[in-house]
Symmetry: C2
Subunit: 360 residues, 2 copies
């Protein structure tokens, strides 16, 4: 089938702006923003109009390159001042997003290394580097899709996912959803069950929307009911994304992932994490070393408008949880599928896989 | 400590009206309604101003007795017409609530058995019978509280619950929450973790409110994070209510109960169901025979106002799930604690327990 995938972030056709799908308006309205300055891009990142670590990194890189291009005719000191201000503003737009810092630091190093060149040369190199980040992201998603699609069972596939690790979290076809899109594009029958994902409902607001737009059938599942689908044989495979993967293969991802992994193991349903190799963190030995961010209590007490709990009640709402490696069937990366145990750490396993693929 | 428990349903002080806490206004406002006719009570049941099977049964009984009392001075045929109309209106207010049908049928049989008596005599007997249903409910809650409190470990108790099986689901101190209220009243330190309970959020809207009013510390937990508390040793005991208990001890209760039972077993945390003996259903052999009601998709797609999923997306939102007997540590009834296996069926086990208690 022909997929009708939404695009989270891209260059405008004239190359003079960044185009973003405003995700704060989903699922009600599909509106693309044309952003012509780094300040506009930073605002869009801060206000979650674009979200998902890969997509944020791409948006920031494009925004920074755009800002340099806008000032090529200016005197050198003004050009540099504009670049520095844009770099700083973008880098602090979401302080915890690793891809964002990596992307703007990468462009900053390129600019610094070209100290003697003229403004136009620097701007062109930055434009090229930003476009490379965008293209790499698209390519990584495609490769994760290919590797993951090879894991699907015969016949109609009923896949369960949580949160949004789809096209709208990247500039390509997503991470967790990439195997499903890849298979659907090749004519396979795919049905997706999307966990609602309290408190911010990324599953029902974003994943269900992008799947419907792409043309794949989707059923929204309240989080506490997903274990029943697994128990009752209604799910063939689980795909989730990852926020960070420790050296021993423990995975930090959206809260709810751990519970799904326990229920999948109990039901004998394969449970795969899909994430690019850049998500591997060799400096964190195990999941116990991963700090878990907690959400603001008012996202639970008055999410989406109404007061749904006493205004001053205590709330337990971690944003992420850690799933131990032994509950994970495999980790689908852009280089192939990693499986525990990871002798010498997961990065060495990934490097071996990458080397094997490169020499194939 | 002195508990400040809210009351879901009671006679007005003058005995000429039913007083109900309007639960549709929680957690924002605490408003008691004075209802002087059966029609008013039926409306309150239909619109969920009072909910919870025991509380609904009590409200209906009080409403029907009230209607008889209003017409004692009328001619006999008018008195009977008013009674029949009130009976029919109350009985259909929520067709699936077993306690409601049982309560109004009980009063109808009493009225029918007094055919020759005068209006005033019949009305007095109905008033007495309705008050007995109210008192029995209060007493059953108290006994469940005593039996359940004996199960609590030493020291500060951290208990997890789901949905609302508290004071506001009964006319007394609740079912699942009764052991905790009982222990707190005796000076024990009790901390309650209340699962939010999508899609209708009875945990955050109602349980958290009634616990705060009673004076017990409560933390609202998003449903998908409760397994983390169990895994991390942050919960000492789980108490849930029950909607129906099959002969083999399988329990139908609010969706999410099954997942909590699996995670409690995995973590070695005791998992108790608290329900009066009237919840036992000897005519249903196992949980597989219990029909599960599904909620309206719009409760998920546009719950509490905002559109949080594509307007036409499919939704999987069962209202209840079935927890197998082997995952349940025990069933706390008003006669004592039942434990699997239930040779000869759970009703025989309950009867034996009841007999043992009666002869003690």
């Amino acid at each position: 089938m022909q997929l009708n995938l939404p695009v989270a972030v891209r260059w405008a056709a004239d190359g003079r702006a960044v185009e973003l799908l405003d995700q704060t308006l989903l699922p009600g309205r599909e509106v693309y923003l044309r952003l012509e300055t780094a300040t506009d891009v930073a605002e869009a990142i801060r206000s979650l109009r674009v979200r998902g670590a890969p997509a944020i990194g791409v948006a920031a890189a494009l925004g920074l390159a755009l800002e340099a291009a806008r000032h090529t005719a200016a005197p050198r000191d003004e050009f540099l001042r504009a670049f520095d201000a844009a770099y700083a503003e973008l880098r602090r737009a979401r302080p915890t997003a690793v891809n964002l810092a990596w992307a703007v630091d990468h462009l900053r190093r390129i600019a610094d290394s070209l100290g003697a060149a003229d403004n136009g040369t620097i701007a062109c190199r930055l434009y090229g580097a930003a476009t490379q980040i965008l293209d790499d992201d698209i390519a990584m998603c495609r490769r994760m899709g290919e590797h993951g699609a090879a894991l699907l069972p015969e016949g109609t596939v009923r896949a369960l996912t949580v949160c949004n690790a789809g096209a709208l979290a990247t500039s390509g076809m997503g991470t967790a959803l990439a195997p499903l899109y890849h298979a659907a594009a090749q004519g396979r029958a795919i049905e997706v069950y999307a966990c609602e994902t309290r408190p911010l409902l990324q599953g029902s607001r974003i994943t269900a929307w992008e799947l419907a737009r792409a043309g794949l059938p989707c059923t929204v599942v309240i989080d506490s009911a997903a274990p029943l689908l697994l128990r009752d044989g209604a799910i063939d495979i689980v795909f989730t994304g990852a926020d960070r993967i420790a050296a021993n293969g423990d995975v930090a991802n959206k809260v709810g992932t751990y519970s799904l992994a326990v229920h999948a193991a109990r039901a004998g349903v394969p449970f795969y994490v899909v994430a690019p190799a850049t998500t591997l963190d060799p400096h964190t030995a195990t999941g116990a070393g991963i700090e878990i961010e907690h959400r603001d209590a008012d996202e639970v007490r008055r999410g989406f408008g109404a007061l749904t709990a006493p205004a001053d009640t205590a709330v337990y709402a971690p944003a992420f949880d850690v799933t131990p490696a032994e509950l994970i069937t495999g980790i689908v990366t852009d280089s192939g599928v990693l499986r525990a145990p990871y002798a010498g750490g997961i990065e060495r396993a990934a490097a071996a896989l990458h080397g094997a693929e490169a020499t194939r």
